[in-house]
Amino acid sequence: MLDQAKTPFEIRDYIRQQLFPHFMCPGCGHGIALRALLWAIHDLGIAKDDLAIVSGIGCSGRIGAYIDANTFHTTHGRPLAFATGLKLARPDLHVIVITGDGDCLAIGGNHLIHACRRNLDITCLMLNNEIYGMTGGQVSPTTSSDRYTTTTPEGNYEPVFDACKLAQGAGAGFVGREMTLQTPSLKKLIQQGIAHPGFSFLEVISDCTEIYGRKNDLGESAEMVLSQKADFRSASYGMIADEVFQPRNVKTGVLYKDDRPEYAQAYRQKIASRAKK
């Protein structure tokens, strides 16, 4: 399934061109993440008709509309719940959830941990820009320490969620993280996540340049994208890197993978065994 596509990737084949330019701010990392997602879909050879994109509310939730597929823009924090129903009813569809740090970890936190636990074959792409952008820049569960937001005027004092550890702890079969800066690597990770038969949780390090960047004087778009590199490094660096990269100690790449039974498969097996009795 991970075989490379025979035809070159043309992003315009996968977007609703009539809606462009999209509504995101200049330099918003979500656009880069969207490219990586579409690229992965192309390389996997998934037909657009068989693709269902389910998103929640917020900046992340809005990017689904730009994909030329079956797109569902649902309620705040609930895309995983909708996706669970959709995937169970339609196992033939590739169901991909696009969510954000607020959507997924705050209001939707309960759905995330249980989606991980169930291990239904859904790919959850969490775009982490550390802020509630759509509502004007409030603190989120992933806002870095001491960063300014409109609701932390003296700097953030709340501890930060490590979403990948959370997902792994909750039982997701595939957990990975990548930054928008590394577009080809991000594409590859998404490809692996979609191909994984089970729940895959992918955290995408994205940038909110216009609100978060300005409020915290993080430089212009390019500087913000480049700074991702200082904070993250590949999981393959392993233990040595843990000591070197003290400040954030966040890894990228495939962080966890197992072949626990997929939910729908386990359900069918149980039902079949009941029928035999």
Binding site: K48, V54, A65, N70, H73, G85, L88, N110, Y267, R274
Partner: protein, 379 residues
């Protein structure tokens, strides 16, 4: 072999859902509705359906909408506190016109209230619980048999009109066991959703069709449409154009009125010449029925108006039913909810009086009898 069986209201509800073609159920345990989930977990796999117990009430509502968007007939069941939690997603289903059925086995409220005690406190919430103007259908069965029939009908209406349908069941009927001939009631001819089969080019998922119910695009059929809770134009994409917004929301709100022949369902007896009309629904209507016989025995001209489809309220039929009435009595197991709606349609010569109870006990026939006598004496 007779197909008559003794069955509990909640179980009848589950069997009706399966008979209607429901193949996806998502729920969260809550008294006094849990038997519905339990029965569905047994029934659905037998017909290749899916039962899933979700992490919470919100997720259950989301999951059934998601499954319905995929093409399945879906249902969830809950009670007051859970119904509150479902409201946002319920509004989403109304706005995006995704069929689904929600069973609310009502308990005493407010808040956690009296989980094992009956009440009819969710009448207004069922109509106006989610924010914004929206269409919704609410059905109120009064017996186990009617739970079966109205659950079947809930699916038919939901699929035909692309609207969420709520079935309000009182705890009393939900847990009531009655002898019912289920096979006789099952029409075996459930309504199927109108799927889009026109050209995929320039397809408008929310087109202003003549019947105001646009055919639904099924994922995988090549339409690749967008579904959003944002106010959307006929093409499915968000809009903030006042003219377009007015047009599309108007269609949404006119949809049920346009199909009133399907939606309206009233059971009335002896209203025509009645001096006194008792308006009652659910278990309370059964008490009213008994009181009516007693009153008629004493020569009181009394009729009963029972709106099985509670929302949209059958205003035209109701106005006609009370044309000759001096008095309208509205017994409810709440502090007075439907009576507020009824007062909107009163005529000048009609007195409208409520009989209310919210102590976790059903209204007895004697209470209704006494109330009528009391009012007649006052007059």
């Amino acid at each position: 072999m007779s197909s008559v069986q003794n069955i509990q209201g909640n179980h009848a509800c589950a069997l009706a859902a399966v008979a209607a073609g429901c193949r996806f159920y998502a729920g969260y345990p809550i008294t006094p509705s849990s038997e519905i989930a339990e029965r569905m977990s047994v029934e659905l796999p037998a017909v290749n359906g899916i039962f899933v117990q979700m992490e919470d009430e919100i997720a259950s509502m989301g999951a059934i909408i998601g499954a319905s968007m995929g093409g399945a007939k879906t249902m969830t069941a809950t009670s007051g506190p859970g119904f509150s939690l479902k409201q946002e997603n319920l509004g989403y289903a109304a706005a995006t016109e995704v069929p689904c059925v929600i069973i609310n086995v009502m308990r005493g409220g407010p808040s956690t209230g009296m989980p094992t005690r009956p009440a009819q406190g969710d009448v207004m919430q069922a109509r106006w619980g989610t924010h914004g103007d929206h269409p919704i259908i609410v059905l109120t069965p009064w017996s186990v048999q009617e739970i079966y029939q109205q659950t079947l009908r809930a699916f038919d209406l939901s699929e035909a009109l692309r609207v969420p349908v709520v079935v309000l069941i009182d705890e009393v009927i939900g847990h009531l066991v009655e002898s019912v001939d289920l096979a006789k009631m099952n029409t075996g001819n459930p309504v199927e959703r109108k799927w889009a089969d026109s050209s995929q080019e320039d397809f408008q998922p929310y087109a202003h069709t003549e019947d105001l119910v646009p055919p639904m695009p099924r994922p995988g059929d090549g339409y690749r449409t967008h579904t959003t809770g944002l106010t959307h134009a006929e093409n499915g994409f968000p809009t903030q154009d006042p003219e377009v917004a007015n047009r599309v929301i108007s269609r949404l709100l006119q949809k049920l009125e346009h199909h009133n022949d399907l939606v309206e369902c009233v059971n009335q007896s002896d209203c025509k010449d009645a001096e006194i009309v008792i308006v009652a629904y659910g278990i309370t209507a059964r008490a009213a029925q008994s009181a009516k016989q007693q009153l008629q025995g004493e020569g009181v001209k009394v009729g009963i108006f029972r709106p099985i489809t509670l929302w949209p309220f059958p205003q035209q039929t109701f106005s006609e039913a009370i044309a000759n009435a001096r008095l309208v009595l509205v017994p409810e197991m709440n502090a007075g909810q439907l009576i507020v709606e009824i007062e909107r349609y009163r005529n000048d010569s009609t007195r409208i009086i409520g009989l209310n109870r919210y102590d976790g006990e059903p209204i007895s026939p004697q209470q209704i009898f006494n109330k009528v006598k009391e009012v007649l004496q006052d007059a």
